[in-house]
Symmetry: D2
Subunit: 402 residues, 4 copies
């Protein structure tokens, strides 16, 4: 008798992936469920057991929060990564990590198949499949939810018929994804981009109006572009993010409302909460203003846009993304120092920055007697600087500017 | 007897340009003072008379607020113009307008010289001289303050010796420039980038903490990328900006603290207030998310950066800037619609956007039964999309991602 | 009795599209064949009749050579369009024109379907379908060759069974596409990128070795970026290209051997001949060096790359491409003048360029006594120019450069 | 008695720098002459002695050809460096090397001054001074030729008065600079951009017409983006360039005629010969087409343009250039393989390329029965790919494309 094919399933504990276990069993697979903790704040031990109850032959739970911070979020910080200058890539950054762990488990169990619970309309199906194949192109990916063609009602009926527990909060209008870098929310009323997101769309943050009347000031210390201490206390990156999520959430910062362009050709409206991410990205980018040269600062936004697009588009593991990661790390060697950040009712404000690496030179900048800048040099500078404009006006004519 | 050479002086009414009148007279020029209103909120009739008192042979005052909004700020809105993604180019946008008017007056008076009151260390000397020469390369520019070599004490002594009134507030540590688009402030304690700007550094805005506890919601209507109405009331652009400066200032929005890279090779720390500008830029950029295609949206940031740099660097009147202005106008034909903006204690939040031009398609985006997106198409899409990554892994090896 | 659905077929007269007529008839369509002349140099009247013989209910032949030059190739010239800096977009430029004419005919005949003869692996299927839908998204596109699943043998059998004439040269190893802008060739031995293309892969050009021993010098006059005269003789653009194809072909210029990245995720090796295109692109780009400002010249390559990609990727009719077309036209207003080009055994060499618009200023450039450049201005220029580098070395250390 | 200040002079042996020795002695400096061999092909021992004869207290000659190839030209190859897509940066690449050696010598001799022989109108004055200060900002740079204000006649008179030998070929109309990477020529008749360069403007290459009638085929092997062997014979980079200069020169390849935009605001017409450089750049870029991914290939031109500009503008030693050098090295790890290049009467033609790293996949590319590409996947691919264009046409209207 032939052994069954094994499939590793990215398991969340929700209805879709629970039904997927049974659906894959029906298709004659042995299912190995895998559940990763990247900071969802869920009780994952329960999730792990649930997979076994539903019929998985094995169920694995891995805590990857630290890895997520150190090997994924670190690049997002170095790259000031915001897709379309707005979205901090919350889900997009976690997908390659999950894909990588799924492949590892597939290799351990000698499985040739990996399944995910994404629908056929989102970015995540692409991110999972591309990331998996960027590590092992020989693996076949399966997408039960995309393939089964169940309506919501049929899915519930199928679940009940197979003793799969149906969650109570199934009627939530929203579709949520959460990890250490933040929380994304779509669907329901949010599908109308003119409708203001209701308060129940948020979970990590209070509304600015509900935040304390007191300002909170935080010192963040950076080394080589990465935060290493809060208020002078050294701690690992994932711990810094966790603490800032709490503090930022309390002060109502990090809410984002974005109509974004998906990889699969449509625009969708998303609501994000990323208090820790937005505090760190704001502080980091500000510190770059005193530690990087103008040339590097003006070059970097183009690179940052490319990198954000690569992450968004599921190409975190790809030759171009790898080169850009190295480039960003190289640039960040100079981004050392401290920023003082004020949180207040939704505002993240940098109120001071300093660095032993500061290229800011008070002697050159000052208008006091300490000034060492040679003002007369400007005469020659301008004379040469304006040569092309003068020549263009002589030849093309200056009338258009009159 | 030979006629004296005539010089048109950009006159502000302050000590520097008042002394400059006398200094130019000493150098045997006839001085024509010119004072432009681009929204400084000063009593310019007084300024005009002061120039005559100090010795100018003519003194001209021009109200150019409307022109400033329509022919200069309009491009900044279309281009989401923020130098280094931060500074709304307050002074940089006014310089070409002033230069253009100075040249017009020079032509009217048959003057071959134009003088400005800038020092030898700032961007504005370059902006004035380049803009003047981009219209008429034959004019000779003079920069008395850069050339005279007075210390502050010598300047005051010289002023007193010539009966030039010395302002009472001369001991203000700050150096201020203000127009319809905002207010910039540098010098004094601000020269220490780690020092928090004190409250007296601000004038147009209250601190977020001092702002009202009530949220203010504003509807802004755009046509071809430019705001045309507030809360449904049509009004000219400069009026919209004026009103938003007041409302925004009251709600503590639009404060900016920026260490920026000057054209002349140094970093300087600047504090800006631009409540109206920041509200409009935020609302405009958000409206683009539903009205422009992904391709155009992803192309535009590069153009925007180029354009901001050109404006900052004094090249608003230059062939490349002219081409980009036309490009931006072309793109903006589709940016029509309305954004709903909430102001609250320093926050500018877009809470809704709509457009007859919206490319957002709820039928494609929805996860309800209305969904018209073909989920199965994703299978073929991903298969082709991931070909290059799979091939790279096959050839380069996937170990680096394991 | 219900009327049959009508389909407009892009008909070339070859085996594939002839079989497609019958295949579409089998599927119960009325077929309207449409054959466009964009400079293939074929006897299109024969092609038109052949479609009727095979069973089309109507067959239309349109001469669009002039339109092709004026409304498509003109942009390629303005944009120095070379995909991956190499391929002059021969087929890619003709597809949107053909698509547009197919849609026009579909509207005339009230047809809801348009069919093309492309396979499922090339760029052209995408270009046709996207271009058609960029004009009328309601049309359904059909791709018989992609769908029918015939092997070559089965296709021939099917043709014979339906009295469709099978061409004699069917055993040519190559797959060819040709129009006014050049000729592309792939398949056969060319699929090995290390193999030198054999002489029979070329048709428009002789080998450099076989070209005349005499140099040929041509004057090309440009107006607003487009060629308007050869050797002083005014003629329409398509005529200029035709003549240069002949002259250039005779002198062995315009052969291109390129491994290119297709839109559909694979690399393919292509051999192109584009004598007229390469002469014009070379001459045009050279003329830009004296007529455009440095800023515009340095800005343009990025735009050119974007535009080439859009054309290659089937997006000639898309909002971004439309904006870039307008931008290019705007920039080209200054590109007037004359270039002198030498053709010799494969070489295209610009040996002189002049323009009434020339920004080149011999008085500034010269090292003779005529020099008007102020050499001393360089002292101040350099002092300010090097401030950032000096500061970076002071802070970061100069050891890395020692 | 106070010691004299010491100045290290970049000495070429020509009239200008010989006169500069005396002029610096007149200014009370002790002059240390330094002459570097970067492939000029001059008898540098004579040059070294000449400096002593003219009055230098020390004269140093250094052979830096190998260093030049390995640490400077290597980056130009990795980066396909062509300023304005045309000029291979012959002089620009040698300046930082020379500057670095001058600083080393200054440190050895405890000299605080470095002098160069550039005029006040070229790029080289900027390149020398910036490169020197990027290593040691405390050094004062001197530019005798820019400062002395001699006419040509006065200079010769001064030379004769001080027994400085005046070269016989002083009447050459040209201004030449040459090193391993090629030869640049300007001035004289070349200042007229419409004039064809006369044959005496060239020295390293024969005219294509004068080249042999036989084609020359060369195999070039690359490792990590750098050439390591010619026709299978391993040799160091500088040796490969030297041999290709000879072979290429014989076949008339590598002549360049360019109107370029200088850093100092003017356009100048330059004639270059770079046979070895152009062969290597052509071969290298072609090899990248089979070894790099599409994403990396499409990303690289922007980086290449930035890097070429940095080199041209004297910023080879600057933080941004350093980051880009590392990025290019990182990318090049995959550029391994072999190109077969044909030289014939001015033409450089790649006729084959192969690599163990090739991403080109004949199985996917082929149109034979070996084809493994899934043609049906294109249906889904196109459906999703064209969603944005269809939506734009539905909303914006398709009339503009009709």
């Amino acid at each position: 008798m032939k052994n069954k094919d094994k499939v590793v399933l990215a398991y969340s504990g929700g209805l879709d992936t629970s039904v997927a276990i049974q659906w894959l069993i029906d298709k004659d697979y042995d299912v190995i469920a895998c559940c990763l903790d990247v900071g969802e704040g869920k009780d994952l031990e329960n999730v792990r057991e649930k997979a076994l109850n539903v019929g998985a032959i094995a169920s694995i739970m891995l805590d990857k929060v630290e890895t997520y911070a150190d090997e994924y979020l670190s690049y997002a910080i170095r790259g000031n990564s915001l897709y379309e200058e707005t979205y901090p890539l919350i889900s997009a950054l976690s997908r390659p990590l999950i894909a990588k762990e799924l492949v590892k488990i597939a290799h351990q169990y000698d499985a040739k198949f990996i399944a995910h619970g994404c629908t056929g309309k989102g970015n995540d199906q692409v991110r999972f499949e591309v990331a998996i194949h960027s590590i092992d192109p020989s693996i076949t990916t399966l997408a039960p939810v995309r393939d089964w063609g169940f309506s919501r009602e049929e899915e519930i009926e199928y679940a009940k018929a197979h003793d799969i527990p149906v969650p109570i909060n199934l009627n939530s209008p929203y579709s949520i994804d959460q990890n250490l870098w933040g929380r994304s929310n779509e669907c329901g009323i949010l599908e109308d981009p003119y409708a203001m997101p209701p308060e129940d769309a948020y979970d990590l943050t209070v509304a600015p109006k509900a935040a304390p009347d007191e300002e909170k000031i935080i010192d963040i210390t950076f080394n080589a572009g990465l935060p290493i201490a809060l208020n002078g206390n050294m701690m690992p990156l994932h711990e810094i993010i966790k603490q800032l999520n709490v503090i930022g959430g309390k002060h109502g910062v990090g809410r984002i409302d974005h109509v974004e362009n998906r990889l699969v050709g449509i625009k969708s409206r998303e609501v994000y909460e990323a208090p820790g991410a937005m505090i760190l990205l704001t502080a980091h980018k500000d510190l770059e203003t005193i530690t990087l040269t103008k040339d590097v600062q003006h070059f970097k936004p183009y690179i940052e846009q490319q990198f954000s697009n690569l992450i968004y588009n599921g190409l975190f593991f790809s030759p171009l993304a790898d080169h850009i990661k190295n480039l960003l790390t190289d640039i960040q060697q100079y981004v050392n120092g401290e920023t003082k950040v004020k949180l207040y009712k939704g505002n993240i404000t940098v109120i001071g920055r300093k660095s032993d690496n500061a290229l800011y030179n008070e002697k050159l900048a000052t208008y006091t007697k300490e000034d060492t800048f040679n003002h007369q040099a400007s005469v020659g500078f301008i004379e040469i600087y304006e040569l092309p404009v003068k020549q263009a006006t002589r030849v093309y004519g200056g009338e258009q500017h009159e």
